[in-house]
Amino acid sequence: MRIVPRITAPANAGVVVALGFLSLLLLAAVAAPWLAPHDPLAQPDIVGARLAPPGAAHPFGTDAFSRDVLSRVLYGARISLAVGVLATALSVTLGTAYGLVAGYAGGMLDTVLMRILDGFLAIPRVLLVLVLVSASGSLPLPALILVLGLTGWFHVARLVRAEALVARKLDYVTAARALGASGWRIVSRHILPNVLTPAAVAAVLGFANTIVLEAGLSYLGVGVQPPAPSWGNIMLEGTEQLRTAWWVALFPGIVLFATVVSVNTLAERIRSGPTGAILLR
């Protein structure tokens, strides 16, 4: 079963909206220092301006420390997106390498590697991250990225390995081997290109999964630490006053939701079918 990318009906309204939103978000994140109406860390009037509902001055309202929520969400985008991209890059690299080795080598090595991988796959990613976090206390940002990257490669590895197994049986690979091509050459020239597509799909879906996980971890207090804003930790702070100041928890969540919907919409367009999405939750 080869996963062939098919960008069906590119002029689809959903894809256009998704791409549009993501571009805007990226732009907003990059330009946050210029776009943000206020300093995300400033607490100008902690008595008078705290928990102000959305209005002209503060489109997303203010939080318990009178910080502007919109500005915090914008700056939060920088962190969330950066963490997502970097961690996913790491995951895809690790997963592709692991999958290639297992898939191409085959035999006993493949069996052993797959059993270990099964073990990793059996553990829900969030729990794995929690173990690593609880072992070492709260994590500085680079460590968080590393942890997310180290826990996100399993599904990539499985998909890549499946594709590699198929690829190595293809006629032109057998031909290359018969011509005496070295293992390394075969892998890089013949197997790797076949594997790029599922790896790319896994990367896109993994990215969505990672930013949600980072938000979730920040929500639990073990991700990005305040006062640095992350969509997750803004929502954590907002939970305290959920009943009265619901905007603090709502808006970061809406932005996160929109981001994930956009990424998933794009991923679905690269027709890997529903299986791809499931495997990477």
Binding site: P124, S134, A135, V261
Partner: protein, 324 residues
């Protein structure tokens, strides 16, 4: 089904559980210091006491020996001591795990029931307005961050409308004074919001998957044969197509379990549902990683067993596999 196949798959599951437990062991060792590092902050505990603890927990023994002792302990269900809760980890788990099973189990059943139902509706007229609207809906539903959805539901139904409780598994005050029927209702009332959160996402995933599987089967030759025989269209979908299209969905069962356990970590926290997810979250805050790793082992075991059940179910359901 062939006993040999069943045995081989079961052995595989055991291997996976073994790997999970071993991973947990090595992850604990990754920590700087030892389980007693958290106790460093407690002035009442002297260096001598800590050394004593280390010795009694075998932490001064060589790694290999510790590993063997650890495996032995895990097999016996002994996960060590929880410093944050001041009781054996196993004891805390014994109460919490069934509650997570209740929550996740309910969500699992509902997800599949609703998901398959939605897929059947969509497939009646593929490409129709109904199909496309439902497709967009399921995309949104599975993209939504579970913890945000939980907050939303909590806000609307509990804080604003007040129709459902805000947290806990039971009414803390009244539950013990209720008769058994009231207790059931009480538990259900507390179960509604957390289970709904998980189900919204889960059902969306199942619906999309099942729809794809049905669309894969419907153009098959044997479906054309059934139509040529005079089978009515509803029966074509519900009997001839679904029976085939359910097979890949059985595989999905195995993949849904880790997703539900992951989701329950956040959902239990937000709704204060006292399951193992909540245990893990609280343990992280107090750096009680014996507890966290124990949850990992239990979760991993649940997933491995779930996959095993799914595989056996698949083999039982597909006559082509049944006969080897």
């Amino acid at each position: 089904m062939s006993a040999r196949l069943a045995l081989a798959r079961s052995a595989q599951a055991v291997v996976v559980i073994f790997v999970v437990a071993s991973l947990a062991f090595f992850l604990i060792r990754l920590a700087p210091g030892d389980p007693f590092t958290a106790a460093l902050n407690d002035p009442g505990i002297t260096e001598e006491v800590r050394t004593e603890w280390r010795r009694s927990y075998g932490l001064d023994a060589p790694l290999a020996e510790q590993y063997v002792r650890y495996l032995g302990a895990v097999v016996r269900g002994d996960f060590g001591w929880s410093f944050s809760m001041q009781r054996p980890v196993a004891e805390a788990l014994r109460a919490a795990v069934p509650r997570t099973m209740l929550l996740a189990g309910t969500a699992l059943l509902l997800s599949f029931a609703v998901g398959i139902g939605v897929a059947l509706v969509q497939v009646r007229h593929p490409g129709s307005m109904t199909d496309r609207v439902l497709n967009r809906t399921t995309l949104l539903a599975y993209s939504v961050p579970e913890f945000w959805l939980a907050l939303l539901l909590l806000f609307v139904f509990s804080l604003k409308l007040g129709v459902l409780p805000a947290g806990g598994a039971v009414d803390a005050v009244m539950h013990s004074r209720m008769n058994w029927m009231e207790r059931v209702v009480d538990t259900i009332r507390h179960l509604v919001l957390p289970a709904t959160t998980l189900t919204i996402v889960g059902a969306a995933v199942v619906a999309r998957y099942q729809r794809g599987a049905l669309l894969d089967v419907l153009p098959s030759d044997f479906i054309r044969t059934a139509r040529a025989k005079g089978v009515a269209e509803p029966a074509i979908v519900r009997r001839h197509a679904l029976r085939n299209a359910l097979l890949p969905t059985i595989t999905l069962l195995g993949l849904t379990i880790p997703a539900l356990l992951a989701g329950s970590v956040f959902v239990e926290k937000i709704f204060a549902w006292p399951g193992m997810g909540l245990l893990a979250v609280n343990a992280v805050a107090s750096r009680d990683y014996a507890m966290v790793t124990a949850v990992v082992v239990v979760a991993g075991t649940a997933v491995a067993l779930g996959n095993l059940v799914a595989d056996l179910l698949y083999a039982a359901a597909d006559p082509r596999v049944r006969d080897g």
